[in-house]
């Protein structure tokens, strides 16, 4: 029983991390809430479907989704987001419009029906229950995303530039930082993380034009509860909700689990309106 609960909790944390990190990076570093985040995930899922249909191995499909959606994010930043920095309501509207646009385009091109990825992963028996071993791939990717993002921010020169620019963008530019480049790259990286998340989810959920709506609300709540620090916030909020969701799902059902995470989120935001990391001055 303990093993099952731990598994459910870990899985739940991994899932939340996977779908939230891209949004958290963009929100934490740029103070932009990307309401098209769910559609970036959806786009990643389609890239994965198309790549596997073309006979590419799954890991290459992941990579293609990461790179492809990242480049798409850079285009979106150049054409749309860069005109709206510091105008949070306007970015909400613009990215919401973008999400509707993307759903429309994908529906037109690929049709409304779901596409699936043929998956040849077996099952694992644990505590009398059977789980898809693919879920461990999902956990590994989530952990890798956190680790790589942390290493980039903590140890690279570019990470130093990003950390400084997120604190005082005006001062950073007076010191010689090209803000546009930093924002463009950061948005692209956040989009790439969303694309990777979509590709990793595709073998489980398939790819359909409306799948983004399912993820954006969860990712949104995780990021808002996590607060401004992208990594600490995502890890702590995913951890909290993962524990609640995983354990409640085990004792009752997954529906009750989701309801209880939402109740927890509402209570937490009442106590900490700017999120778990809202008051933290430094950190990642």
């Amino acid at each position: 029983m303990i093993v099952t609960i731990i598994y459910l909790v870990m899985y739940s944390i991994a899932l939340l991390t996977l779908i939230s990190l891209g949004l958290a990076v963009i929100f934490g570093l740029m103070k932009v809430i990307n309401l098209a985040h769910g559609e970036f995930i959806m786009l990643g899922a389609y890239v994965c479907v198309l790549c596997t249909d073309a006979g590419l191995p799954l890991w290459l499909a992941f990579l293609a989704a990461f790179v492809g959606v990242g480049l798409f994010g850079i285009v979106v930043e150049r054409l749309l987001i860069r005109f709206l920095y510091g105008r949070i309501i306007d970015t909400l509207l613009a990215t919401w419009g973008l999400s509707l646009f993307m759903v429309g385009i994908i529906t037109t091109v690929f049709g409304p029906q779901a596409r699936s990825v043929p998956l040849s992963f077996g099952n694992v028996q644990m505590g009398g229950m059977s789980f898809s071993s693919y879920n461990f791939v999902l956990m590994a990717v989530a952990a890798l995303m956190i680790a790589v993002t942390w290493a980039i921010l903590r140890y690279t020169t570019f990470g130093l530039i990003v950390r400084g620019t997120m604190q005082r963008a005006d001062m950073a530019s007076a010191l010689g930082v090209n803000r546009n480049m930093v924002y463009m790259t950061t948005f692209g990286y956040g989009a790439a993380l969303a694309g990777l998340a979509g590709a990793v989810l595709a073998p489980m959920t398939g790819a359909s034009p409306n799948m983004g709506q399912f993820f954006i609300s969860k990712a949104f709540v995780t990021v808002i509860v996590g607060g401004q620090l992208p990594l600490t916030g995502t890890i702590s909020a995913s951890g909290l909700f993962g524990v609640i969701d995983g354990s409640v799902s085990y004792f009752w059902s997954s529906i009750v689990g989701e309801v209880s995470t939402l109740v927890a989120a509402v209570m937490l935001l009442r106590l900490l309106p700017s999120g778990i990391t809202g008051k933290m001055r430094s950190g990642l």
Binding site: L160, I161, G164, Q167, A172, S173, L175, G176
Partner: protein
Amino acid sequence: MLAVTDLCSGYGPIRVLNRLSLTVKAGEFVGILGHNGMGKSTLLKTLIGLLPTTSGQISFDGADITMAPPHRRARLGVGYVPQGRGILPGLTVRDNLLFAAAALKKPADQLDEVLADFPRLKNLLARPGGALSGGEQQLLALARTLIQKPRIVLLDEPTEGIQPSIIDEIIDLLNHLRNRRNLTVLLVEQNIDFIRGLSDRVLLIQRGTIVSELSVSQLTDSTAMGDFSGVVP
């Protein structure tokens, strides 16, 4: 080195600088004296590009930089130490310095060389910039500019909110650095002692324009106060 002609600038519809002109030659230390609200900080913000120029021209080493974004000016060699120091509060002292070097793609090995002039900072390298005292932050802001090896330094009220003992220390340090590194500096201040202790010549700013120029010897308290503003401080 720096030539400003008929510069106008401000915040939205509010015009603060009004056809301001000045020049700074290489190696010179020019002080600009003026009261609050006369446009001192606005001038430096416009020179580094954080505020847009509405009319007039700024040229640096013969190149027209009137419309250049801040990072381009910084890369040409304009260093900026803002009022309030502009420390990145969540980064450590070391990262603040490395950030400045990285922003201009300068090698990080200049850290030790710069720290030799700032012994106080050596013990604070692992501290977050936001946890430093005002005087320490001012030293960090100066060190951060110097690691970039700027050709001119724009210095905005370095004495603001700093205890008098550290002000003397900063005067000594700036004089020392100036002799050693042949710095060119444009300083804006309202502290007369500080500006007298450092400047080659002093310009008075009133209502967004330069109204007169004084040599340092002319800068006695009484003449300065009279010309300074016409208002008894």
